[in-house]
Amino acid sequence: MKGKLVVSLLILSLTTLLLALLSPEPAETIVRFFTGPFRNIYAFGSFLSSALLLVIAGTGISICFRGGQFNLGGEGQVYSGAAASLTAALLLPLMPGFIAKPLLIAAAMITGFLIAALSGWLRHRFSIHELISSYLTSGALVFFCDFLISGPLRDEESFLIATQRIPGAYTLAQLLPPSPLHSGIFIAAAVAAASHIFLHRSVWGYRLRMFGEQSTFARFGGISPRTYRIMPIGISGALYGLAGAVALLGIHYRGIQGFTAGLGWNGIAVALIAGTSPVMTLYAALLVAYIEIGISSAMAGAAVTYDLGLIVRGAILIVVTLKVLKRKQEELL
């Protein structure tokens, strides 16, 4: 716990340092960075809405880590989840919102689950490491979703590479207009709570933890290696898919090419900072969202380039591994 605080402070000071070094107007930039999410209602809402997506995505990866697996296919899984939801929303007959929303979310989660579970199954069946297979499937899927949005689902009227809007009844309620904060925040809260209960209270969560912690011990206890090679990464895929659906229904309302990009990688960063615990994921997601919004605010106000965000994110990952990751994950990788 103390470690997390140290890491957070380290990350914040590193970011400050980088901003100070790389910005032509350091003082202005740093002030804007730190006050970024609180400058106005819109920024605050954006902060929470990006944090809530990170909570969903990061929680999945946390569970995946606890199960002793690594999922590098986040980018493709988020995008595919969103695309599945989008396809259903645009192609199915119009339904009342209360039926449609759960249906769309389920479509996204199932899609994400199946994609990720494939990697788990390949690991179990053919010993193909899930790192490489999840990355490669994700690579292919990103292009496939690009194709869906730019091809069959494309809105011919628009100058964006985008689909038509989904029916208004399907969207998640706005909570803090004009900011993009939406009722997906309750979904994120539910995910965080449910994953905590799942991991620490449920029978399956217990088995998953045991399998991830010491697979021989788990097999000794009769826990099926196949199920628990597929379940952790599958759950992370399902939650990535969910994050895609929430981004679609809560923020974008339409498919725009590449509209979920970055969420997959940030999910991993969140989980690494959180150190594989769903509860700490809340905290890590707020931290990462804070940095994201802070940087974009610094960019908008002071002459900070787009690249600084990359440098900061990269530095975070490098620093985080020095401190946080436990021995188990080292062995795993």
């Binding site: 716990m1 605080l5 730190f34 006050t35 999410p37 609180f38 400058r39 106005n40 209602i41 819109y42 920024a43 605050f44 954006s46 292009f143 730019s150 011919e156 628009s158 100058f159 964006l160 590479i161 985008a162 207009p177 004009p178 900011s179 993009p180 923020i251 974008h252 725009i256 090419q257 590449g258 509209f259 979920t260 990009a261 970055g262 615990s277 509860v279 809340l282 905290y283 707020l286 974009s296 605010s297 960019m299 908008a300 106000g301 002459a303 380039t305 787009y306």
Partner: protein, 343 residues
């Protein structure tokens, strides 16, 4: 693993408390600062949907706006790069609008009007200028559109002339190429048809080989595609693919083909290989419109379309490299067509 609920809860409360304090701290000085300012400052945000570097049209946008701002003491222009991901543009412009300290947001892209229009519903006092796009009727938005069909037509007409000519590297196959970074609406609706029609008018029966890199940066792939195109018989290539243009250029140099540059003059990039250029006078247009906006003379809510007739879209025919490398006969036919269009 053990979680002590109390310390966690404590930390969350502390975090929220910190947030609250920061909200208060951040709001006060900003508000106070603005109130004290003696002369009304006029702040312009230039939102680049992409990056300026390597993209002449955005570079010209930034330069034009900056030039306008520099003419006034109380006007500042702030260039903000939004990156190439379309999905992030809405959020980024929204956050600029939400800050409320920019009097005008200038941007450029055919896709921008619908994004800006949507943002305008939420931030009802924000003014926008959108270049290279078209939207009529929103009282806060002024748009100016270039006739991309015309620009592509010019390029296509010239390509048709060259491929049918007896120039050194022209082959008799009547085949020309267009390499796009991605397929996007303007490309499919205006540029490709314009290019095709231009080539047909210049040399009936000319076929257009159209291929897509998939992104705006993979120059190696651009080079490979261009090489394939050249070996499939195309002798004049029009690359509209951002950084990947340079791969196309390289392939043309290596395999003796011609290139037409788009949006800006490119003769100097490879004399004798880049033999034609079309350009948009985006810098000039942006300068004029931003200046008008500062002076309060811009008719927000209206939309303009400009093309060859107005002089904002043109074929660059006054470059010495053009004269040096293109035979007189081809030049004359091109000039003939241009003057027809200008009437």
């Amino acid at each position: 693993m053990k979680f002590s609920g109390i310390t966690l809860k404590g930390r969350m409360i502390a975090f929220l408390a910190m947030l609250t304090i920061m909200v208060l701290a951040a709001e006060t000085p900003a508000a106070a600062g603005r109130a004290e300012e003696p002369q009304q400052r006029y702040r312009i945000a230039v939102f680049i949907p992409g990056v300026t570097a390597g993209s002449p049209i955005y570079d010209m946008l930034a330069r034009g706006a900056q030039r306008a701002a520099d003419e006034f003491d109380h006007v500042t222009a702030n260039i903000i790069e939004g990156g190439t991901n379309q999905g992030e543009w809405t959020g980024k412009i929204s956050s600029i609008a939400a800050q409320g300290d920019h009097d005008l947001i200038v941007t450029s892209n055919p896709a921008m009007p619908e994004i800006v229009n949507e943002i305008s519903q939420r931030f009802t006092t924000q003014k926008f200028i959108v270049m290279d796009g078209h939207l009529e009727g929103n009282p806060n938005i002024y748009t100016l559109r270039y006739d991309q069909y015309q620009q592509a037509y010019l390029a296509g007409y010239f390509a048709g002339l060259v491929t049918a000519s007896s120039m050194d590297h022209s082959r008799s196959g009547l085949r020309i190429g267009l390499i796009a970074g991605q397929e996007y609406p303007d490309m499919n609706r205006s540029i490709l048809p314009g290019y095709r029609d231009g080539a047909q008018d210049a040399a009936p029966g000319t076929a257009v080989d159209f291929r897509v890199v998939g992104n705006w940066y993979d120059a190696s792939k651009g080079k490979e595609l261009a090489r394939e195109m050249i070996s499939a018989g195309a002798d004049v290539l029009l690359p509209i693919s951002g950084g990947a243009n340079y791969g196309v250029l390289e392939a043309a140099i290596e395999h003796n083909a011609y290139v037409i540059w788009y949006d800006t003059s490119g003769y100097y990039k490879a004399p004798g290989v880049v033999i034609g250029s079309t350009e948009l006078l985006q810098d000039e247009a942006t300068y004029m419109k931003v200046k008008a906006a500062v002076l309060g003379e811009l008719p927000f809510g209206s939309a303009e379309t400009v093309g060859v007739e107005e002089g904002f879209v043109r074929f660059v025919s006054d470059d010495p490299l053009f004269e040096a490398h293109v035979p007189e006969e081809v030049r004359n036919r091109m000039m003939e067509r241009i003057s027809q269009m200008q009437q």
